[in-house]
């Protein structure tokens, strides 16, 4: 591969290969820009369809209706992608906890103690709000994940002794719940993920709550950067 060696004169050597790539990327940008400007816009897309079936979806927010009902299958697989990301990171490294929590300022610790429960409340509220306004599992999970990151940077001592089985269960809560609902829907003659009519509202809320917990844990685990110490060890 083309790698310029730094450090000989401090200046990068002129590389014709890079110039070629630059020109190609520039050309691609121009083509894309032209296409975006001249593209015939095919009307509103599927927004009309979504509005037409909104009543049957069990929720009032069109975004949630698309994500959890009309195209719930996509979301089911996306939730698996998030889980895969954690499995991938866990397979590579163990999270390192620096044992210098005494260095954390007491102000930070008290602020985090105040904020973390509050953020959990906000997350729950966002999930609830997803049924009729902007919000939902991903937004709630993001706030939960931020709370997790706050806990991690404060280096609270109990974080390093969280049992790894508990974490695994938490990470699986959303995917398992979603998958179980999808499969249960198939009994009594319906299709995969076809919620019973009239029951869609609370089922969507159930899936969203479980997924929010898992997404929050996923984001925090990605920040921690590896599997917990009690998990599989490596030499």
């Amino acid at each position: 591969m083309m790698m310029s060696k730094p450090g000989i004169s401090g200046r990068r050597r002129f590389d014709p290969f890079l110039l070629l790539i630059f020109l190609l990327v520039l050309l691609l940008t121009l083509i894309l820009a032209r296409a975006v400007c001249t593209l015939p816009m095919g009307g509103e897309g599927l927004a009309g369809e979504v509005a037409r079936f909104q009543q049957q979806s069990g929720v009032e927010s069109p975004v949630t209706a698309v994500l959890l009902n009309f195209r719930g299958y996509d979301t089911l697989l996306e939730v698996m992608v998030l889980l895969l990301a954690v499995i991938g990171v866990w397979s590579l490294a163990t999270a390192s906890f620096v044992k210098n929590s005494f260095a954390t300022s007491p102000v930070q610790i008290s602020v985090v103690r105040l904020l973390a429960p509050l953020m959990c409340l906000v997350a729950a509220y966002l999930v609830r709000q997803g049924t009729h306004l902007a919000g939902g599992a991903f937004q709630g999970g993001a706030v939960l994940g931020a709370a997790g990151v706050l806990l991690l940077v404060t280096e609270l001592p109990w974080l390093s002794v969280v049992p790894s089985l508990l974490l695994r269960i938490g990470l699986l809560l959303g995917p398992l719940c979603f998958l179980a609902v999808a499969i249960l829907c198939m009994f009594s003659g319906r299709q995969l993920l076809q919620y019973p009519s009239g029951e869609a509202g609370w089922i969507v809320l159930l899936i969203e709550s479980a997924c929010a917990v898992s997404i929050g844990l996923t984001l925090a685990s990605l920040f921690a950067g590896g599997r917990p110490g009690g998990d599989v060890s490596d030499d």
């Binding site: 593209l39 015939p40 897309g45 009309f70 195209r71 698996m80 995969l192 993920l193 919620y195 030499d235």
Partner: protein
């Protein structure tokens, strides 16, 4: 409590998905959960095969009809790809069991091997579910989601060995894969902007679309070709496939590259055939020819067995693309040669990587020059490698022979003999790199130092042989897969008019 009979179609997605989640939760049941998922998957696909010979079937997930919801669709090509995944997947699962038990049995770096096994099973099961979902899907955006799932799990699997070389290769693989996915996604955005639907049947009905559609198709195709490692975008493949663990190499080379190829094939031949120009077809054919020649020459030059096999993947993928210009004009069925080729290559290449992995485990290296007399220690493995090699060379009665024969005869029939010459030269070159290894495996020199043979494990040797034999005998049962494809072809023609 009643399950609809049509629900069988989601079994190849749901079953491995469940198994993958269980594997992540508990270690003890991981292998048995995976094995039963693979068996159930195979049985499910066979049942589908029996039912779908009468014609294609659709399934509306969530009960929502086409423009709003996601449709799963099963026809000839998708059925054969599912069958390929199920058979190869079962073989790989058994082999992986033998592989990890063998490595854990020898008390050297046990913790590392246990970690690899612990994370292999959930990643592999989720990857299997993603591949099946990809082959079943009939929705252009759902394809993107399955592609993401495939790339993330495949990159994690490639990095599993933990060696720096494999981690660098896996990271590059991840970046390339993401770039390909994003390019595909950009194309999907354009398609949605122009036509306002995502379902394949509806897209097929609204043909044309002008310059925007050409650009969209180009973006999607380049992304998918990058993921399929078409020459000269193959640079990431040999290091990633050669440095991974042996079962992972088999998965990546046998199955994962076929996923993105299948989407490309569908887009060009099934959904947007009107947008494809002869120049584009010829360009893809030329790149395929380049892949055949360059991949073979590189394979001949390699000193390590796994790298040789990886470069042969680059070369064999070229045949899939050289069929594009040939299949396009001849509408009556050359594209079945493409699917057939993919089928045979998947079995043969997995078998070859398994055999190389077994050889590596036993000797602790895979330098080709030092492999003389392998058959004394590992007769079954050496035999499996040779049979898989027969398929790559394209000798009768292998599946590779049928595919190459179809390519050759159609290139002569349409008097475009230059493609035929490339096919023949490619076969010649592949016999060079196959015999280079096979001659060393089988010829036992007289002055061979007595090698200590490690105890053999049947799970390490037999899956490779069975898969290689399947690839070999595929040529004898060729009429059957071609009949399945015929069932699919009818669907393709019917759906040209707006769906059955």
């Amino acid at each position: 409590m009643m399950l609809e009979a049509s629900s069988l179609i989601v079994c190849p997605v749901i079953v491995p998905l469940t198994a993958g989640l269980l594997c992540f939760l508990s270690r003890r049941t991981a292998f048995f959960a995976s094995l039963s998922a693979c068996l159930a998957n195979l049985v499910g696909v066979c049942l589908l095969l029996g039912r779908s010979l009468s014609g294609p079937a659709s399934y509306h997930v969530g009960g929502w009809q086409a423009p709003l919801g996601i449709t799963l669709r099963i026809d000839g090509p998708s059925l054969l790809m599912l069958l390929m995944t199920a058979v190869t997947g079962l073989g790989i699962t058994l082999y992986a069991r033998g592989y990890f038990s063998f490595r854990i049995f020898f008390p050297k770096r046990i913790a590392r091997h246990e970690r690899q096994e612990r994370f292999f099973w959930p990643l592999w099961m989720l990857l299997l579910a993603a591949l099946n979902a990809l082959f079943l899907s009939a929705d252009i955006f759902n394809w993107y989601v399955t592609l993401e799932m495939v790339s993330v799990s495949a990159a994690a699997l490639a990095a599993l060995s933990g060696k720096p070389a494999s981690q660098i290769a896996a990271f590059r693989y991840l970046l390339v894969s993401l770039l390909g996915s994003l390019s595909y996604l950009l194309g999907v955005v354009f398609v949605y902007k122009v036509h306002g639907v995502l379902d394949l049947n509806m897209l097929r009905a609204c043909a044309g679309g002008g310059e925007g559609m050409h650009l969209a198709l180009a973006l999607m195709s380049v992304g998918l070709m990058l993921k399929t490692a078409l020459f000269p975008m193959h640079f990431w493949l040999p290091p990633a496939h050669a440095n991974a663990l042996a079962p992972v190499s088999a998965i990546l080379s046998g199955l994962v590259v076929k996923g993105s190829f299948y989407i490309l094939f569908r887009l060009w031949f099934d959904v947007f055939p009107t947008c494809v120009s002869p120049a584009a077809l010829n360009l893809v054919g030329i790149l395929g020819a380049g892949a055949i020649l360059w991949g073979s020459v590189q394979a001949i030059r390699q000193q390590r067995l796994k790298l040789l096999v990886a470069y042969s993947t680059v070369s064999q993928l070229g045949y899939l693309f050289i069929a594009f210009p040939l299949a396009y004009l001849q509408n009556d069925g050359l594209w079945s040669a493409v699917i057939f080729m993919a089928l045979a290559h998947s079995c043969a290449k997995s078998a070859m990587f398994m055999a190389s992995g077994t050889i590596f485990l036993h000797f602790g290296h895979d330098r080709i020059n030092d492999l003389a007399g392998t058959r004394k220690c590992l007769p079954v493995t050496a035999f499996a490698y040779a049979i898989a090699g027969v398929n790559l060379m394209g000798l009768p009665p292998s599946g590779g022979f049928i595919a190459k024969w179809l390519l050759l005869s159609s290139s002569l029939a349409s008097s475009r003999w230059w493609w035929g010459i490339v096919v023949m030269v490619g076969s010649l070159l592949s016999s060079v790199y196959v015999f280079r290894v096979v001659s060393r495996l089988f010829v036992v020199p007289e002055d061979l130092p007595v090698r200590q043979c490690l105890p053999r494990s049947p799970l390490l040797e037999w899956p490779a042989l069975v898969l290689a034999l399947i690839a070999l005998l595929l040529g004898l049962v060729a009429p059957y897969p071609l009949a399945v494809l015929d069932a699919g072809r009818i669907s393709l023609m019917l759906s040209g008019g707006g769906g059955p």
